[in-house]
């Protein structure tokens, strides 16, 4: 039989990010770094959260972690400059003859 670690009383260490929820949806959010003004609204509203602001060429731009992005589209809906687009994942684009 497999052995398991049993934390007493089902108490759990913090912040296990084992569940990669990035494969849940059919879409992913993509940031158009050219358009992005680094305002951070998407970061604030992302429920996962899986968007952060990163430095790029001296500017702040949003970056989506597709390991966790469920493709809800909230970020795209709140972006003031339409810099985020929702795109169907490649796997769903493939057509079988």
């Amino acid at each position: 039989m497999e052995r398991m670690k049993l934390y007493i009383g089902a108490s759990n260490p913090p912040k296990t990010t084992q569940m990669k929820t990035g494969d849940w949806g059919t879409e992913w959010a993509f940031v158009d770094e050219e358009k992005c003004i680094g305002c951070g609204r998407c970061v604030k509203f992302c429920p996962e959260p899986c968007i952060e602001l990163v430095e790029k060429d001296g500017n702040k731009v949003a970056k989506v972690d597709h390991d966790y992005c469920k493709g809800c589209g909230i970020c795209a809906s709140v972006c003031p400059v339409n810099a985020i687009r929702m795109e169907t994942k490649e796997i769903y684009k493939v057509e079988v003859c």
């Binding site: 089902a10 912040k15 296990t16 569940m19 429920p47 589209g73 709140v78």
Partner: protein, 292 residues
């Protein structure tokens, strides 16, 4: 580093994670989170998949306020108050229905806790059954729409007024449509010693019948129609409200959600829409919500 997630199992576009994030960020992670049974608990605290970066406890469905009171008492007794605030995240059922007595008890004793009710207006964890905070006319699985019934009959319990009536120092309403406002309210709340209550409107994509990407838009519509006023009470006095820039008709809010769609066809529907509009108008008057 985030204090909540990623890796939780909430539906794509779920409203309450936005609130949880905002609250914990406002407190800079100095929080003991108490969470009764419900959606938030189920999506965040599965054994081996805890997504909380702060101390967290789930006990039962109906006792979060009491558990929080106990933690607060223990921190006082052990001289550990400086470690953080005791924060409850509870759904509408856990707050206004099954746990109502214990919310009242904790408020009555004025424990130094911050109680956040994320209100998604039904028992969404068990699949959208009506609670005391389900609004009139909403279709739920226990208030289905049929010949004799146009969805929920009856009112949405006014938890903000009930909280104010307890004489606790700070009561506010907020919405996941406005996370900055929520953050500010949390920071203001914890300046008070004693029980604080913030009621946060949080859309549920499955229960309300909306798309994930509509969450913020629908949450804002609730505010912009006056159906869900954002108000703030300090020591029982109304001190601030969020003004409505451009008042929208409730129909716009209702049409965006599948749970209200029948109101536009059902013989009783018109009456309910009018009643909801009346409630919205009354809120606007009562709290003087329109920008002059």
């Amino acid at each position: 580093m985030s204090y909540f997630g990623p890796g939780h199992g909430a539906c794509p576009g779920c409203g309450f994670p936005i609130a949880v994030k905002a609250v914990l960020e406002a407190l800079e992670g100095k929080a003991f989170v108490v969470n009764p049974t419900g959606c938030l608990e189920i999506v965040s605290s599965m054994y081996n998949r805890n997504v909380w970066g702060v101390p967290y406890i789930h006990s039962l469905f109906e006792n979060a306020a009491a558990v929080a009171a106990g933690i607060e008492a223990a921190l006082r007794a052990l001289n550990r108050k400086h470690e953080g605030h005791v924060v409850v995240f509870a759904g509408d059922g856990a707050t206004a229905d099954i746990g109502f007595g214990m919310v009242s008890g904790a408020f009555d004793r004025n424990h130094d806790i911050l109680y956040i009710c994320y209100d998604n207006e039904a028992y969404q964890n068990t699949g959208n059954q009506q609670s005391a905070l389900t609004p009139p006319g909403a279709r739920t699985t226990t208030t289905p729409v049929g010949k004799r019934q146009p969805g929920k009959i009856g009112k949405k319990k006014d938890m903000v007024s009930i909280a104010v009536a307890h004489g606790i120092p700070y009561v506010a309403s907020a919405s996941v449509g406005y996370p900055n406002d929520l953050k500010r309210k949390v920071k203001r709340a914890v300046e008070f010693e004693g029980a604080k209550y913030i009621h946060v409107h949080a859309p549920c994509v499955t229960g309300w019948g909306i798309d994930g990407k509509q969450t913020v838009e629908v949450a804002r519509l609730a505010v912009e129609t006056g159906l869900y006023p954002l108000v703030e009470f300090e020591h029982g006095k109304l001190v601030r409200v969020m003004k409505i820039k451009e008042k929208k008709p409730v129909e716009e809010y209702l049409k965006a959600q599948r749970r209200f769609r029948h109101l536009f066809k059902h013989p009783e529907g018109r009456k309910i829409i009018e009643e909801l509009q009346r409630i919205a108008d009354e809120n606007i008057k009562r709290y003087n919500l329109l920008q002059q």
